[in-house]
């Protein structure tokens, strides 16, 4: 039985395998793009279906398991993120992918992430989760063994954690599909509220929550578990990283939502509330807040363009976690909105990075500079992405960030409020570093023949940039879909306006007035005398003549003062935390392996198969 969900999930996989088998230049690219376009097309089509019926269902029985898939509003949004950004990333790979190996695993990981989003039972969820992890691990392995090892270790750690949690739930509930689990746990919470014995004890609940938090936190790159992300994100094909960071990390975020959906009521009952937020959510939010700060500060101190955006990615995921953690309808909508916008602008950023690396072959800031003149189209895209990430109205980054601010601060959470304020400033900071080092300043002479972006990358960037602008000017487009999740008007207003009752934001109005302001400024500008272009050597050098032999741009250690200010904290987080946790995790993984072999037989069998496959390929 072929259902559209089936096609959505498996089309990329099929295309990937085909591309790998055929391995003919030109054809494999076409197959890959088609493979990524099919899910997108079907997802767009599903929008029509979803407006008439609440969900699309599909189930398949395989090897004694019954896998359930369900498409409804909330995971449609996530799947759309995957579809759009995945498509853009695959388009970018047309230019940057080196061989069919990359096509295979990139498309498999797209399948994996779509499967995670669409799965409606924990078994399927876990399997696709592993498929996704495995495929992305293979992508990293190809480029950097060490980075992939770190990623592998932490991912396995997370997978174990999830497996145990699923095991506990299965042992208690006896079912793996979401609906049953949700119902049982809800009833359990009710039972607890009436004072009768509960199915899960308090400690079990803490354990399950903790394990899921670790499992999803690893994937999302949450603060103490983020260490794999910078290396893994940077040491792979950068077009793929657009998907890796834009979509795969969203699987972790989606997992956090799954915690809410499945365990939310039960956890809320068990631990109570902190202010407006559930206590368990507050933990997520606090960790998210720390993630914003740590990721942002570290991003500002990076010397590698890919690392900068990897850390930036971590930082932005922190926002989403804060929103999810606060746990009100508004904040969860804000978080999902930010997930959308993060996927859009971060996907765009990584495509830009891919273009830069593709064209210059350099990754470090110190080798770049003055590329704006040489790559105007890419720079225009970067400009949109920068404004969007920095949260500048009227782009999508501001709309989602604004929603998050309002949602968090409205719930009287000053500490979280301070954290996200800091996060927005640090966003400015590392973006300026990127802008200055790559686009502006003195251009090293060896970059003099750099060309602009190749067509597929340009198209991919164009799609994402356009969406950045459209969703920024008309934030209501997204908000309308988000409102459908809760079935009520959490975010009021029209398609141009977001109205929360205690705050309003109108994208169109801001655009109009910004244009008015720009026109006024431009009139003043054009009334003045004509301008004459001068080279970079004809600038203020305290009166001294300079030539191009001198370095006129701060290429390295741009934020050295910040580094010095934070020297105390950096010592802690870099030297001890980074390595000790790494070592600790290695040890723990070792112990855990002995421990987990006692687990559920079926899960173990599945797991063994995957490990064997990994090991087999590793040997290759």
């Amino acid at each position: 039985m072929i259902n559209e969900l089936m096609i959505i999930i498996f089309a990329p996989l099929l295309a990937g395998v085909l591309a790998w088998l055929l391995d003919i230049k030109g054809i494999r690219e076409a197959i890959g793009v088609i493979g990524a376009a099919i899910p997108l097309a079907y997802l767009i089509q599903a929008y029509q279906t979803l407006s008439t019926q609440p969900s699309i269902q599909y189930s398949i029985a395989l090897a004694g398991f019954k896998f359930e898939f369900l498409l409804y509003q909330i995971n449609w949004i996530f799947a759309m993120i995957a579809g759009v950004v995945g498509f853009a990333a695959v388009l970018g790979m047309v230019s940057t992918a080196k061989d069919s190996y990359e096509w295979l695993f990139a498309l498999i990981s797209l399948t994996g992430v779509l499967g995670v989003f669409l799965a409606d039972d924990l078994a399927g969820f876990f399997i696709f989760w592993e498929v996704m992890t495995f495929a992305s691990f293979m992508m990293v392995l190809k480029y950097n063994r060490k980075a992939s090892l770190k990623y592998f270790l932490l991912s396995v750690f997370g997978a174990y954690a999830m497996l145990i949690a699923i095991g506990i739930i299965y042992a208690k509930v006896g079912a793996l599909d979401f609906a049953t689990i949700q119902q049982v746990l809800y009833q359990d919470a009710m039972r607890g509220a009436f004072g009768t014995d509960t199915l899960f004890s308090r400690n079990e609940m803490i354990l399950v929550f903790g394990l899921f938090l670790i499992a999803f936190g690893v994937k999302a790159g949450m603060f103490p578990l983020h260490v794999w992300a910078p290396d893994a994100y940077s040491e792979t094909n950068q077009s793929y990283t657009a998907m890796f960071s834009g979509v795969l990390s969203k699987a972790g975020v989606y997992g956090m939502l799954v915690i809410y959906i499945l365990l939310g009521t039960r956890l809320m009952y068990e631990f109570g509330k902190f202010g407006a937020a559930p206590k368990f959510g507050y933990i997520i939010a606090l960790l998210g807040g720390l993630t914003i700060i740590v990721g942002g500060l570290l991003a500002a101190l990076q010397e590698d363009i890919r690392k900068l955006f990897a850390y930036s990615s971590i930082s932005q995921i922190g926002y989403i976690l804060v929103g999810i953690g606060v746990g009100t309808a508004l904040s969860i909508e804000a978080a999902i909105y930010h997930a959308v916008s993060h996927a859009l602008f971060k996907g765009l950023f990584f495509l830009i990075v891919a273009t830069i690396i593709y064209r210059t072959g350099k990754t470090e800031f110190k080798d770049m500079g003055g590329l704006a003149e040489k790559m105007p189209i890419t720079f225009a895209m970067a400009f949109v992405a920068i404004l969007s990430l920095a949260g500048i109205p009227p782009l999508v980054g501001f709309a989602s960030k604004w929603l998050l601010f309002e949602a968090v601060i409205h719930e009287n959470m000053p500490i979280l409020g301070g954290m996200i304020f800091f996060g927005s400033a640090i966003g400015f900071v590392y973006l300026i570093r990127f802008t200055y080092a790559v686009w502006f300043g003195q251009r090293p002479t060896d970059l003099d023949d750099t060309k602009d972006a190749p067509l597929p990358l340009a198209i991919a960037m164009g799609i994402l940039a356009l969406l950045n602008v459209v969703f920024g000017i008309a934030p209501g487009l997204v908000a309308k879909e988000l409102n459908k999740i809760f079935g009520k008007e959490v975010i009021g207003g029209t398609i141009y306006e977001l109205n929360l009752g205690f705050g309003r934001y109108n994208g169109l109005l801001i655009t109009i007035w910004l244009v008015v302001g720009l026109v006024i400024a431009a009139i003043i500008y054009f009334l003045g005398a004509k301008v004459r272009k001068v080279p970079v050597t004809d600038t203020y050098q305290a009166g001294n003549p300079v030539t191009m032999e001198y370095n006129l741009t701060i290429r390295r250690n741009f934020f050295l003062p910040l580094k010095e200010t934070l020297a105390f904290w950096l010592r802690i987080s870099f030297d001890r935390l980074y390595q000790d946790i790494g070592k600790w995790i290695e040890d723990l993984a070792e112990t855990m392996r002995h421990y987990i072999y006692n687990g559920s037989v079926q899960a173990y069998a599945w797991y063994l198969a995957i490990v064997l496959l990994i090991l087999a390929l590793w040997g290759v």
């Binding site: 251009r443 305290a542 009166g543 001294n544 370095n551 390295r556 003062p561």
Partner: protein, 391 residues
């Protein structure tokens, strides 16, 4: 319209290789067209905001004084040499005059001694006020700077009345001074001015020298120790800030200084703050010396030597020989070495400005590792005076 790529193309056509030096660092030209280093240039190799390497580039004020002095008669040189130290032009006048006095074997009259000492001390006070102005402009507390410049104007007016000029006095000449004190009114005015400036010192303390932020900015910046300072020929307040009580006025007394009572402040930290505080304290001491001088009153007698040879100045000859004289300026040990071959012009005049030691090697070494914000502070705390170096 010349774009960067065209420049590069042109360079390549001419066979020039255009590759930046070292991409880890960048070059920053600090001066001469910069508010912190007037007429002086430092080429900084920077990493982030830290200095990795500094090269001092002097010579923007070089006029070849030492050569010019060999071509001008003995007395005319006074009008030339005082331009070596602009903030306190009386110092080069005094050392040159003292050296010539020694060559001539003249006993300078008491009154001339008194006037020379007073003028030197006034110059010291005005130079210290000028330095306070510079320091506070570089630190950003413009108010103190403006006030210091305003108080300095009072001394300028007194100088003008005494010598006829505001800046270049051409007053101390071999054998005495060029003209007598205008009268008692001038002395009274000087007394008033000294008292006035003394009463204003607490303002500077509040704004600059006792300010929390000043301490933060200057503490532990540009530290030198005693051994380093001596090896590098550091003199004056900069040396005293490292714990060496070397003051020419005490160690090699000249003029009236043996008879005067003053302290030589010494601190041992050797950082920018210590140097600044030493100067602040010396300003107080200088005012105290001026008070003593005024209490003493100018001795009666002639204000310059009575010598028949002075009738015809262009033909004035100095016996062959050489002499070294030095005084304590606000910057340090300011010396002159004068050689005569018996002619009507000096055979060789060498002026030793203290900044030639402070401004080149010491500066280059103190700047390494400093933040860009510390560069003006270190420069100012060394009280580097470019004309000293360039001559």
């Amino acid at each position: 319209m010349v774009s960067q790529s065209e420049l590069i193309k042109e360079a390549r056509e001419n066979g020039m290789e255009l590759l930046p030096l070292d991409k880890d660092t960048y070059e920053l030209f600090f001066g001469p067209q910069h508010m912190a280093t007037e007429n002086f240039s430092i080429i900084l190799k920077m990493d982030g905001h830290r200095v990795v390497k500094a090269i001092a580039n002097p010579g923007f004020l070089h006029r070849g004084f030492e050569k010019l002095a060999e071509l001008r008669p003995w007395y005319t040189n006074i009008a030339l040499l005082l331009r070596i130290c602009v903030p306190e032009p009386d110092v080069p006048e005094a050392i040159y005059s003292m050296a010539v006095d020694e060559l001539m074997g003249w006993e300078v009259p008491e009154r001339a001694h008194w006037i020379r000492t007073t003028v030197l001390e006034m110059a010291r006070v005005s130079a210290y006020l000028f330095w306070i102005m510079g320091l506070s402009f570089k630190l950003g507390v413009y108010t103190a700077g403006q006030w210091a410049a305003a108080y300095r104007e009072r001394l300028m007016a007194l100088f003008e009345e005494l010598t006829g000029a505001r800046v270049y006095h051409i007053y101390t000449i071999p054998g005495g001074v060029r003209r007598d004190i205008p009268g008692d009114k001038w002395l009274r005015q000087l007394k008033d001015t000294v008292e006035y400036i003394k009463s204003k010192l607490p303002d500077f303390d509040h704004l600059v020298f006792e300010n929390y932020i000043t301490f933060k900015r200057m503490e532990g910046i540009g530290v030198m120790d005693k051994k380093f300072a001596l090896a590098e020929g550091v003199t004056g307040p900069n040396l005293r800030a490292t714990g060496v009580p070397y003051d020419v006025r005490r160690m090699d007394p000249y003029l009236l200084y043996p008879e005067l009572d003053f302290e030589v402040p010494v601190l041992k930290e050797g950082d920018a703050l210590a140097r600044a505080l030493i100067r602040r304290y010396e300003l107080e001491q200088d005012l105290y010396i001026l008070e003593q001088l005024l209490e003493m009153g100018p001795p009666s007698g002639p204000y310059k030597v009575q010598d028949p040879r002075l009738k015809n100045l262009p033909r004035f000859k100095v016996p062959a020989g050489d002499a070294f004289a030095h005084v304590e300026s606000t910057k340090g040990d300011f010396g002159a070495y004068v050689v005569s071959d018996g002619g009507n012009k000096p055979y060789r005049v060498q002026i030793r400005g203290p900044s030639i030691a402070h401004g080149i090697r010491v500066l280059e070494q103190l700047l390494v590792g400093a933040r860009i914000a510390d560069v003006p502070v270190i420069l100012m705390s060394l009280d580097n005076c470019p004309p000293d170096i360039d001559r």
